[in-house]
Symmetry: C2
Subunit: 470 residues, 2 copies
């Protein structure tokens, strides 16, 4: 509980204008993009700099007040739902791109920077920051770091973690540490940088990041291949890789997704096919040309019904934008949309998609599947309605079976969305008791009072997707 004395201290740190404990203000931050999770925070606090973050953290540690760092709340694992109340920490003041260092191919940012703003800034200098979560228009870098966000370019370029050179972190005891630097190589001690990326705010507060940039690819081409057979689409994915071609993007959409997306975006996508691959290659023009030609041949050999290369940049961008809008499009179908990200080795995609469809049939639920086929990172998505308790229960069972299947195929319960509160009950399936114990030991060593985003990653008991009001 935040006493009036504690509130006064917080006000003295950040000022009245950066604290909100009104009911309306707290309600706004009582949930994130994840359906079925809601819990009221006690206060919203917006620090202006790292020193203030450190002071806030020290106070919270002393008084055992939970802190939930939050960007734009676009995560899909209830990672920023203030499950145990406490303070939601906003970074609206810490939203600057501090330095673009072209010589060292690095950019230094504060956590509140919007991902797309970063992308646009570095691209204007001919540089490239590849991680591109579908929410990039509104997501913040801080959120991307905490969730280790992926995106459409993961296959060729990797994910957020692969582009973090160094961090400034406020530890739960208030200590401010700096890891890494503008350095291509650094082995001075344990890799705290990558430990913190993807730690979902449970180990400390990231207050600054030095990110790696690469030269902007010279050109890009986008292709759409249509299939009447999902297995053929999956075989195409495997054969492209077997031909030693790594496309920049290799996305899969099934028919239900396609119909929803076309209904939403209205760009003339075909809706009478069973599966679509959206393929992009970037790089030097001659190589892009050559790769796309070979990829088109493979698509034809695997009996694609049609293979079209976007004629203009605008057409290409429309296709990619349509794919990025898949969640928004599917979310229009029913009041509640549950999107998951079970991930399997690339070779198992066909098996996984088949299993998802069988599981959906078994539980009489509708599941549309799209995702990053090149990564094996699929997004089975269920349009449903939380008010229909019977259906929701079947949805829960279906997703539990999907997770189990992913693990059986050598995969994982989450490829890029994180564990948060939502998938915590399933984490043990992937890691075993021993793996969970190892992670809990790390958590306890950093945050003995469990003030940092408590209730995330580690499950208390069993899964629940219930609305909790405090």
């Amino acid at each position: 509980m935040i006493t009036s004395t504690l509130k006064e201290k917080l006000v003295s740190i950040v000022g009245h204008e950066n604290i909100d404990d009104s009911k309306a203000g707290r309600l706004v931050y009582s949930y994130d993009a994840t359906p079925q999770f809601q819990s009221m925070p006690d206060m919203i606090v917006a620090p202006r700099n790292t020193k203030e973050v450190s002071e806030i953290v020290k106070l919270c540690n002393e008084h055992k007040i939970p802190i939930v760092p939050r960007g734009s709340g676009t995560n899909l694992c209830a990672g920023t739902c203030p499950t145990e109340g406490g303070i939601v920490l906003l970074f609206k003041h810490m939203n600057k791109i501090l330095e673009l260092d072209e010589e060292n191919l690095a950019v230094i940012v504060q956590p509140g920077v919007i991902t797309l703003d970063l992308t646009n800034t570095v691209e204007a200098a001919g540089l490239f920051y590849p991680p591109d979560p579908s929410s990039m228009k509104i997501s913040t870098i801080g959120g991307n770091l905490n969730e280790n966000s992926g995106g459409l370019r993961g296959l060729k370029y990797g994910v957020t973690r692969d582009y973090v050179l160094g961090l400034e972190i406020v530890l739960p005891n208030g200590d401010i540490i700096r890891t890494g630097g503008k350095l291509a190589k650094d082995v001075a001690g344990y890799d705290l940088t990558r430990l913190f990326v993807g730690s979902e705010g449970t180990l400390g507060i990231i207050t600054e990041a030095t990110l790696k940039l690469i030269p902007m690819p010279e050109t890009k081409k986008t292709m759409l291949a249509l299939y009447q057979d999902m297995e053929a689409a999956a075989r195409t994915v495997s054969r492209i890789i077997a031909n030693r071609i790594i496309p920049a993007t290799l996305e899969f959409l099934d028919q239900p997704t396609l119909i929803a997306v076309e209904d939403f975006a209205k760009i003339g996508l075909p809706t009478n096919v069973k599966a679509v691959l959206l393929i992009e290659q970037d790089g030097a023009p001659e190589i892009v040309e050559r790769d796309m030609k070979r990829i088109a041949e493979i698509c034809h050999e695997e009996l694609a019904e049609s293979v079209q290369i976007a004629g203009t940049n605008e057409e290409a961008e429309n296709l990619t934008a349509a794919r990025r809008a898949a969640l928004s499009a599917l979310a229009r179908l029913k009041p509640t949309t549950i999107l998951e990200d079970a991930t399997v080795p690339r070779s198992e995609i066909a098996n996984m998609v088949r299993a998802i469809n069988e599981i959906a049939d078994k539980y009489h639920v509708k599941i549309a599947t799209f995702g990053h086929a090149g990564d094996g990172n699929l997004h089975p998505t269920c349009p449903t309605d939380v008010r229909d308790r019977d259906e929701i229960e079947r949805v829960e069972h279906a997703f539990a079976e999907i997770f189990a299947k992913a693990i059986e195929l050598g995969g994982t319960i989450t490829g890029e969305h994180g564990v948060g509160a939502m998938k915590a009950p399933y984490l043990e399936w992937k890691l075993g008791k021993e793996g969970i114990a190892a992670m809990k030991a790390i958590k306890a060593s950093f945050d003995p009072n469990n003030i940092m985003n408590p209730g995330k990653v580690f499950a208390k008991e069993s899964r629940k997707r219930l609305v909790v009001t405090r």
Copy 2:
């Protein structure tokens, strides 16, 4: 101390033939490639599988016996010197490439595999494992993983950590955990995979690794640019990157290194120049051609005395082999060779090389410098003699100043060699007390009895490079 009862138990696990506690046997493993560090282990043990490793670890944890996992001992940070005695764990039986999965671009290996054997195996399948430490002919993958080894291709391709998808680990309590998998994306909990890579055997024993492969570049070209001015060479490095070209290799050798290497390799390297850049580009032929042409122009614009592209593969391989032999070549000059790897942002290379030369002059010691210019990862190397206590003291002071300078320039005390026993006293300069405390907390959470490679990473007191006999 290993009692006779404990010895019997160890024999019952691995068999008589896999234990050696003879004085001669122990002497062999009392040191590694790092000068000035020696300490006798109590026993050498060679387990045959993960289960045996787990049983050994459990026993050692119970009896508080140190365990030092060791590959070929090529590290340069005294990382495998059994500083506090105990058991040296060898992986001579666990040396298999278990699976090459071409569809998922992954290879599963045991820790005892020789790096070059792995490279050759995957290249025969048209695939590429980029990390290439100079010791790769004899180093093991287990050693590379524990040290997060770099190499000549770090600039374009990254280091060992960037190619590890999953691990099997025996924790200090004997638990066997598996992290990651054949997965391009996995955010199920903290990134234990990357935490263990580079942890120098201080957190647990890696018993298996799933490594990421990429398609083999189609072609490669090698160039040598000669300079009478070190600053011009450094400017060339910056301008290549500023031109948005990332070469596969961008190595720097100063004149003293060049003379030593030519004397050793006798391949006709010029020895009358002040600095040499060894530059490689790989990829599609058209791109390699175009990049090398542009790089050659930049070299000429920066007044390189000569720019030669290797005409044949053999010539190119000789050049790279000569660079890889730099340590061996310099080691012939004097009885003791101390090689360091201070690392700075790329833009600071000229400043760093200049500082190294000034510091060498100040302390009247000879320091040759070569290294990965594209990474800012330099290897100032001092041919000296441990028996000359006066000179050794000056060498110590010189290197301490070099580390301080690297940090002042935004760099680190070690880019790819690790901290080990050797650089532990300097780690605080890079991380601060708070950073060290955070890392120590992780260490304590995994290994409360401090049995895993004790005396490494974390300094007890001050620096010492003394021969300790137990």
